[in-house]
């Protein structure tokens, strides 16, 4: 039961990431510097996923301490 609860609280986070992916779509070239918006948004999003994954995985897998 506790496992279910801890998973459920993660749903909004994944929803936000999915929405962010949609927002990244138009990928406007934006300001004229050498780092266009599209690049900052999509590569930045990868790091957001990385951090979310780190915390999520730790929480989901830390309950299992068994070894082979």
């Amino acid at each position: 039961m506790q496992q279910k609860k801890s998973s459920a609280k993660w749903y909004p986070i994944w929803m936000v990431i999915i929405l962010a992916v949609l927002l990244a779509y138009p990928g406007k070239t934006g300001f004229a510097g050498w780092l266009p918006w599209s690049m900052i948004i999509t590569f930045g999003l990868m790091w957001v996923i990385y951090i979310a994954a780190a915390v999520f995985a730790k929480e989901q897998l830390s309950e299992d301490q068994e070894e082979r």
Partner: protein, 491 residues
């Protein structure tokens, strides 16, 4: 002289791979389980979390990263990032949840292939084993053949045509055949770990060469004006329209995590915590390596936007034109390493599918001792077939992955993932799901269609899920015989 150094570098690397093959064999003999299928195909499930991550990354990143991704960013623009975002999000969600279920089941029931798991879920059905085996085989085979094309391109360039394309294909196939058949998964894990560092180092060095030699901000500003579509969706070749963008995000990750050669890597991990390492190392490495690849593509766009060069060969051409030959050769040995690490995993995985799912479990269930011998013979045979297919290279490496492989593998998703979560999914439903999904995938791949502008994989998934649902309604599970995961791993 400058032509000999690249040849020496490449050959030294090949000798290293062979030596690691020998080491794998020694290690396997020492374990006392050298005649066991799970030892040859999965190194006895004793892969440490770190090595598991390295072999996972090495398997994912092939010539596609160094050559293919530069080509595809150049051709299709930054919209290609949706493939990466989808794979990363899928890995992040899948590994700690469904991946954990896979691992526990594999540990409990000694699974070696994807079909072992799916067939077990549906009461040990031989028909389901056969279907999963055939689908896995049919859709990952072209991907394996493409890898040899990538390496051979590089070999020819690195040795300045000293090795012809056919000679390069044969040479690579022989080296792979020797080290894979010697130590199986144990050899593959070691070569994979080295190959990850070679690829990462090569991309980092290439990046350093570029930033020290050129004014990168100036190049970016210039490319914004001459090929600005690279930075935008739908891209220079307008593929990434909104519908395609969303549906690829939803589907590609599912195909990715279920790719048989990656799926079985979950089984081989020693501890469940290793899954966390795999997902984090993979996501981090993707974010770094593809940022490099994108920068390379922009730089190549600045130099070659008016010239006719095969997109997959852009970075090759660039390195040899703008850095010393010996340096270019060293860097490109990283690309060779990357592809070899992917092929070896694919060969071993396909070999296990053929040996176990299509032969030993179906026809000769009583002779598991032959499994390793068969595994070796089939590995060699697969490399021979791939080498022959490598004489017909495709126009774009990533095209094979996105348009051929993922749609097919997605057909496995409903029976596997929904099957584990939905207790009343029946054997009949799984068969219908696999057949309908695979037939639609074959049709869409053959006709190169993305109906209504939505990714073909989405239609395959929907048809396959509908098949599971309808089949389970028409041929329901007997009362009291519903599948229960918790009981399965406990009992």
């Amino acid at each position: 002289m400058s032509d000999i150094i690249p040849i020496i570098i490449v050959f030294a690397y090949m000798v290293l791979c062979l030596a690691l093959g020998g080491y794998g064999l020694k290690d396997s003999l020492k374990s006392g389980q050298a005649d066991q299928g799970s030892d040859f195909f999965l190194a006895g499930r004793q892969i440490s979390p770190f090595m598991a991550s390295m072999t996972y990354i090495a398997t994912v990143f092939s010539a596609l990263v160094f050559l293919g991704s530069v080509g595809i960013y150049y051709n299709l623009g930054i919209g290609f990032n949706i493939l990466l975002l989808s794979e990363m999000a899928a890995v992040a969600i899948f590994f700690p949840t469904i991946g954990k279920m896979f691992w526990k089941l594999a540990e409990k029931h000694d699974f070696v292939t994807p079909a072992d798991l799916v067939s077990h879920r549906f009461g040990g059905s031989s028909l389901i084993r056969l279907l999963v085996g055939i689908i896995s085989l049919a859709f990952i085979f072209p991907f394996m053949a493409v890898q040899i094309v990538g390496i051979s391109y590089v070999m020819v360039t690195v040795t300045n045509n000293w090795l012809s394309y056919p000679a390069a294909v044969i040479f690579i196939a022989v080296v792979l055949a020797i080290y894979i058949s010697l130590g199986g998964y144990r050899s593959v894990v070691w070569t994979d770990a080295i190959q990850v560092f070679m690829l990462g180092g090569a991309m980092l060095l290439t990046f350093i060469v570029i930033v020290t030699k050129f004014d990168v901000p100036q190049i970016f500003t210039h490319v914004l004006s001459v090929r600005g579509a690279i930075f935008n969706t739908p891209g220079p070749v307008p593929v990434y329209k909104l519908g395609m963008w969303i549906t690829q995000f939803l589907m590609i990750g599912i195909g990715f995590v279920l790719m048989p050669q990656l799926w079985v890597r979950i089984y081989a991990v020693k501890k469940v915590q290793g899954l966390r390492n795999i997902s984090l190392y993979f996501i981090g490495a993707t974010a770094v390596l593809f940022l490099f690849a994108f920068i390379f593509a922009v730089v190549c766009a600045d130099f070659y936007s008016t010239k006719k060069i095969l997109p997959d060969k852009l970075i090759l051409t660039f390195l040899f034109e703008h850095s010393p030959r010996w340096l270019a050769a060293t860097l490109l040995t990283g690309a060779i390493a990357a592809s070899m690490s992917t092929i070896d995993s694919l060969v071993l995985c396909i070999s296990s599918i053929v040996t176990r799912d299509l032969y030993s479990k179906l026809y000769k269930p009583e002779v598991p001792k032959n499994e390793v011998l068969w595994g070796r013979v089939i590995s060699v045979l697969l490399l021979v077939i791939s080498a022959v297919l490598a004489f017909f290279p495709p126009p774009l490496f990533f095209g094979v992955l996105i348009d051929v492989m993922y749609p097919g593998i997605i057909a496995l998703a409903p029976a596997t993932i929904i099957g584990l979560l939905w207790k009343r999914a029946s054997q009949g439903g799984a068969v219908l799901s696999l057949v309908v999904g695979a037939c639609l995938a074959i049709y869409l791949v053959a006709t190169k269609q993305n109906p209504m502008g939505l990714y073909s994989g989405l239609w395959v998934f929907l048809a396959s899920a509908l098949g599971l649902w309808l089949g389970s309604l028409i041929m329901p599970v007997q009362a009291g015989k519903e599948y229960n995961y918790a009981q399965d791993i406990a009992g």
